[in-house]
Symmetry: C2
Subunit: 300 residues, 2 copies
């Protein structure tokens, strides 16, 4: 059962206190797809320009990611993001954003994608995310990520989106901004009251919090000291989680928690290299081994 | 088997965004003792002035805390701390500190305390903490808390102390400052290399990290939306942890992790009221129930 993801495919230039790396394959849908591909087939919907290297497409295809929904604009340029991480590797500064073809992204899903049961809307304009949902009327589970920018400028669309979603993933600063609450437990519950059946607050190096109808819980990040590049960690988390849910074709409370754990473990690998480099070194077996360690870490 | 704790006993004035409360029973040894008293007998060593309300002593005694090591300086005043919490309830500003009798604190342990096997040095001057250790030569487990102030001013004593300790508890900002590392995993390992058999980094609302000879792990905080006053949460954590270790008379890896969990659960109650107010409402049974919830929260 394939999972559909709609979002950005980008070229990233990343500067950390240690190193600067240019022309990395990035974007929310990319990181999401790559992580999800360890669990299920993925249908990717995105847009790139004529400059987008063919080897990137091949890399995604080699993971079983269907890129027939990746549209190439012949006279356009690919979305580019340039960012710099602070010494704490948590705060980052966006040095440059060129939306290019992603600025006019109007996703049209290939016919084969429209029967999807599992859909993830990686971060993007809420109005566009809503249009995607209209194209998959038979979906069983739709989850979206959100982003500060839209919270500030497109409140109405975002509110409509929230009521249409099953799950929403957002980061801690977004949750605080959205609700005006500094307490993340209160913030998570307040966001959940806006519509989604469940809400997940990503806390970066501190893990993630889950808010469902009947339960609230926190899982820590898997501790790694090989923190090379956190770019895409949140999307990798979501990809691991949604990939597992799709593979299991279930999203009851128990399965959701295990899916969160898979997402956290996937993200812990992602940050151990620039772009997708570390993810390219690992197998599902490595994910299982680390999940096992993570499970033991949390049992007493 | 009693647990000896040496540290501050104070009167706190606490201001949160919601409320200001004066004359709360506070201090590191106080919060520690109260939490530990749910698990074991506690011998408290500290100093107060003639102004210290007798009802505070009675409260501690009612929990089975032996205060024969709590020295009263007849012509002195009790240590007073006044602080204000930021809206995030994590950052705080010290508005006023009057060390008073605590400034000349020179702990002399009653004879009966000197045969203790379990010792906790709540935060204080490293030189004083070292003198305490000399008085309990037959100890099996000595753990200390540390504090920014001493890190800056008494590096040598602190380093000697670290080599004499079994365990060190410190908070995330201290660990970063002490090691110059922004990555907490790397920081924890670096602190452990300075001497202690194990190191625990407290991350406030994000839980705590453990660094032992053979393992590193993270446990999240127990999520509560009744965050009233975080003062003493770190000492309550340490009190729950050390109390459990003393009760079990063991500190193998398995027992240490369970003890961490008890500490985290104890701290989650402490923050739900000003000073010791919430702790006074609960029983060991409440701690067990929440520990059970916490264990379930972390299993998948």
């Amino acid at each position: 059962m394939p999972l559909v993801v709609v979002g950005s495919v980008a070229i990233d230039h990343v500067e950390t206190p240690v190193e600067r790396r240019n022309n990395l394959l990035g974007g929310s849908a990319t990181h999401f797809s790559y992580a999800a591909s360890f669990f299920t087939g993925v249908h990717l919907v995105g847009v790139v320009g004529a400059d987008f290297p063919q080897e990137n497409v091949q890399l995604l295809n080699s993971r079983g990611i269907d890129t027939s929904g990746l549209h190439t604009v012949k006279d356009g340029k690919t979305f580019t993001w340039t960012g710099r991480y602070a010494p704490n590797m948590n705060d980052r500064e966006t040095l440059e954003v060129e939306l290019n073809v992603f600025g006019k992204f109007d996703p049209v899903l290939p016919e084969a994608y429209r029967r999807a049961k599992y859909v993830f809307l990686a971060n993007g304009v809420p109005a566009v995310q809503l249009k995607v949902l209209d194209q998959v009327p038979g979906r069983r589970l739709a989850v979206a990520d959100t982003m500060d920018l839209w919270i500030q400028t497109q409140r109405d669309d975002l509110e409509r989106l929230m009521r249409a979603l099953d799950g929403l993933v957002l980061n801690d600063s977004e949750a605080k901004m959205r609700t005006g609450s500094e307490n993340l437990v209160a913030a998570g519950r307040a966001v959940q009251a806006m519509g989604p059946k469940f809400v997940i607050i990503k806390k970066g190096e501190h893990g993630a919090m889950f808010f469902g109808e009947h339960e609230t819980y926190v899982l820590p990040a898997y501790p790694t000291d090989r923190l090379i590049d956190p770019t895409g960690a949140g999307d990798t988390f979501a990809g691991g989680m949604m990939g597992y849910l799709t593979q299991r074709d279930a999203f009851d409370a128990e399965t959701l928690k295990t899916a969160m754990a898979y997402g956290i473990v996937a993200a812990s690998f992602n940050v151990e290299g620039f772009g997708l480099e570390r993810m390219q070194e690992i197998t599902r077996e490595d994910i299982e081994k680390r999940l096992d360690k993570y499970r033991k870490m949390l049992s007493f």
